[in-house]
């Protein structure tokens, strides 16, 4: 079975994530902090907040995903687990995919499920709740996939600093555009099918391509 590698890595990473509950809540805490800052910095008026809410929520989700990218491969790289994974007689593609899926499950998924709460706090108009959730579900998965490439490419660098955001940001922009577009469309009473379809196609494309490129980049990083 080609999937034993996938299942093994999936279970291991998920278990590790559950045992580190502190890390698990990081993106949500980050989200709450920014959500508090936005009304304080801009305006508490709900009419003006609701105008900027779709874009703002999506920007925060993007930054939260960016912040958590370091954790995707770094620990495994530092303690040598990654090398052990790579010499397994299993296709690296599926094991990288497993790591990405777990990363999404501990960062993107909780954010998407809590999206209506965040939306309510920024007085997002009600028709935007479900589209926000749907677009975040798909979009954060694509962000994790794209982020895996950037994360794998910068892995051996000691002081990467702002390098990872710089590399990944241009690739994130289409997701941000279509993600906030979906929510805006729903609020304006338009059909959200077209932006959602584009997001779905981006997800399908990168679900297929990104683990492959990330695996290549990991080989490069580990073997030199």
């Amino acid at each position: 079975m080609t999937n034993t590698g996938f299942v093994a890595i999936f279970r291991r990473d998920l278990l590790l994530a559950i045992r580190h509950r502190g890390d698990l809540s990081n993106p949500i805490i980050f989200f709450f902090i920014i959500i508090v800052l936005v009304p304080l910095g801009l305006t508490p008026e709900s009419s003006r907040l609701s105008e900027i809410a779709p874009g703002m929520l999506w920007i925060i989700a993007l930054l939260a995903s960016l912040l958590s990218l370091n954790s995707m491969f770094q620990d495994d790289y530092n303690d040598g687990t990654l090398e052990q994974i790579m010499i397994l007689p299993q296709p690296l593609y599926f094991m990288v995919l497993a790591k990405i899926v777990v990363h999404w499950m501990v960062t993107g998924l909780p954010l998407s499920l809590l999206a209506p709460v965040f939306g309510m706090m920024l007085s997002l108009p009600e028709p935007g709740y479900l589209p926000l959730m749907l677009s975040l579900l798909m979009g954060t998965a694509t962000l994790s996939l794209l982020g895996a490439i950037g994360s794998a490419l910068t892995l051996p660098l000691d002081k990467e600093g702002l390098l990872l955001p710089l590399i990944v940001m241009p690739f994130y922009m289409p997701i941000l555009i279509f993600g906030s577009g979906t929510v805006q469309f729903a609020i304006d009473g338009l059909s959200i099918l077209s932006p959602l379809a584009v997001m779905g196609s981006l997800l399908a494309l990168f679900l297929f391509v990104a683990p492959y490129i990330a695996a290549g980049a990991l080989r490069l990083s580990v073997e030199g």
């Binding site: 490439i149 710089l166 590399i167 241009p170 922009m173 981006l202």
Partner: protein, 248 residues
Amino acid sequence: MWQWFHKLGSPRWFYQTSGKWLPWLSFLALVFISLGLVWGLGFAPQDAKQGNSFRIIYIHVPSSFLALVGYYIMAIAGAISIIWKIKLADMVMVSAAPIGASFTFIALLTGAIWGKPTWGTYWIWDARITSMLILLFLYFGVIVLQKAYSRQGLASRAAAYLALVGTVNIPIIYKSVDWWYTLHQPATIKFTEAPSMHPDMFQPLLLMIVGFYLFYAAVLIFKIRVEILHRERRTSWVQDYFFSKKNK
């Protein structure tokens, strides 16, 4: 055919051959650019709406062309270096990145200067301007990633990967920015650029475009030569080359 392929991939052969081309290329670039500049800035007719300010087109358009072409040259060279592990392709990629970034920057800067008299503002979130800015970020990513690695082979392969991912993404980014722009369209400002240009204005532009391509080729070859000397500084042919010159 394979022999030719191997020859082309050899930095030493490239260094020696390009030494003969470089003066000609630079000379031709100088001729085309100075002819185009004098013609375009001095003799081309004024634009009916924009007056003299349109003349910045003679810098703006050719550098925008090369900003895009430069990215593809860089990415293709990166692909060749990953697939066939040709040293020279690697050097082309590393040398092309800063040149392309410079042209992108020039395109953005001249666009901003041009925007002030025509649109009344230096910066506007127009679809094309935004795409160019993202392109600049893509270039920066490749350059910075390549500089961040201390080991040469690793650095250029990582950068080549990034350049390739960028190539896949460029159409997606461009399309999405177009879509975004039509969604938020501020109807007040439009591109005043006429779709069809008068031949008197177009001919110097054509000269400038050819001149910029030649200039790009000359600068790229020059940078590749420097890169070759730097990377091969310990090989015998580089040492021979310089010592034999000094002895003469």
